[in-house]
Amino acid sequence: MAELDTSGGGKHKGGKVRSKKASTRVDLTAMVDLAFLLITFFMLTTTLSKSKAMDMVMPDKDDQKKDELAVAESRTMTILLGSHDKIEWYMGLPGKSTPTIDNFGKDGLRKALIENGNKVKAEHGGQPMIVLIKPSDKSNYANFVAALDELNITGIDIHAVVDIMPIEVEDLKKNGLY
């Protein structure tokens, strides 16, 4: 197998037949192969089973309000998560501006976030936009994470997840997203 026969042929001089001494050396190649295969397997499985996570901070639900700052309503953008992986977003206060129906992804929410972010920055002298995410009862967990992901991609640090208001649910219903 791994050893070449270097004994140089079988010339028996003198005619005496001697019994060949069998080598005590065992070929370990196959064993090493197997060991390394298993090592590779265990290395891969250990790294795969480590779970990864994103950190999430929710606003304090304390009844006593403290250290709260008033922010301009024109600086806030609200994202409503509806059903069928669709969203609605609007700037400012609910009911005052007409919401835009959008979807997730590069040309949907991300584009809206970048455009609105730039607009707010230009209008408010460099102050960043504040985003509120309001998941409705018809949205799913993937939508929720995807919305947070878009905020992470567009680099919007100030955001919060808050409960949806009845007026916003009505609006989602009107647009068939609830």
């Binding site: 070449l4 270097t6 370990l28 090493v32 060991a35 089973s49 999430m56 639900k61 995807a146």
Partner: protein, 203 residues
Amino acid sequence: MPRVKIARKSTATDMTAMCDVAFLLLTFFILTSKFKTADPVPVDIPGYTKTVVLPEDNIATLTIGQGKVFFGVEGIPIRKQMLEEVGKIYSITFTPEETNTFVTMPTFGMPIAQLKGYLSMDPDKRKEIQQPGIPTDSVSNELFNWIKQARVADVVLNQKALRITIKGDARQEYPTIKTVIATLQKQKVNKFSLITALKAAPK
């Protein structure tokens, strides 16, 4: 002139040392590896572009799927203490055998009233039973007590703040997630982690 004969050397290398090293490493990886524990419900975790690797210990996981909530915490001493304390709240005492069965379960989802019966069951029978999840409704928010006692146990035993993670199914409707988050916020846990798969960042 006699021909110069080059001595033929054996091409065989000594594999013994290599074999030793290989098996040493193999033993190391076998002992250190921890296999993924099976989830009680199929969970398809959503993707996120920026993730951190979670620590292995000092962690509690809330698995959410099919509208059910399951709870698990790392560390056998913490589980033992938690079971004892939650049992006290609902005035249920668990036998040492039931406690031993409980600490071996990585995650569970039984209402406290049925937990004792579930733990004293035959191991084969226990596997067949679909766990209904921990009740989270406002009438009997058992999840609140479980999380609370797990956190208390971690502070008592390890002097550390327990890190709470949520492992949610992507198709899970939001109301269940909302109740779980509300339960956490009720005990002032405003910071937690969501288990996500790493997604490639868009260009």
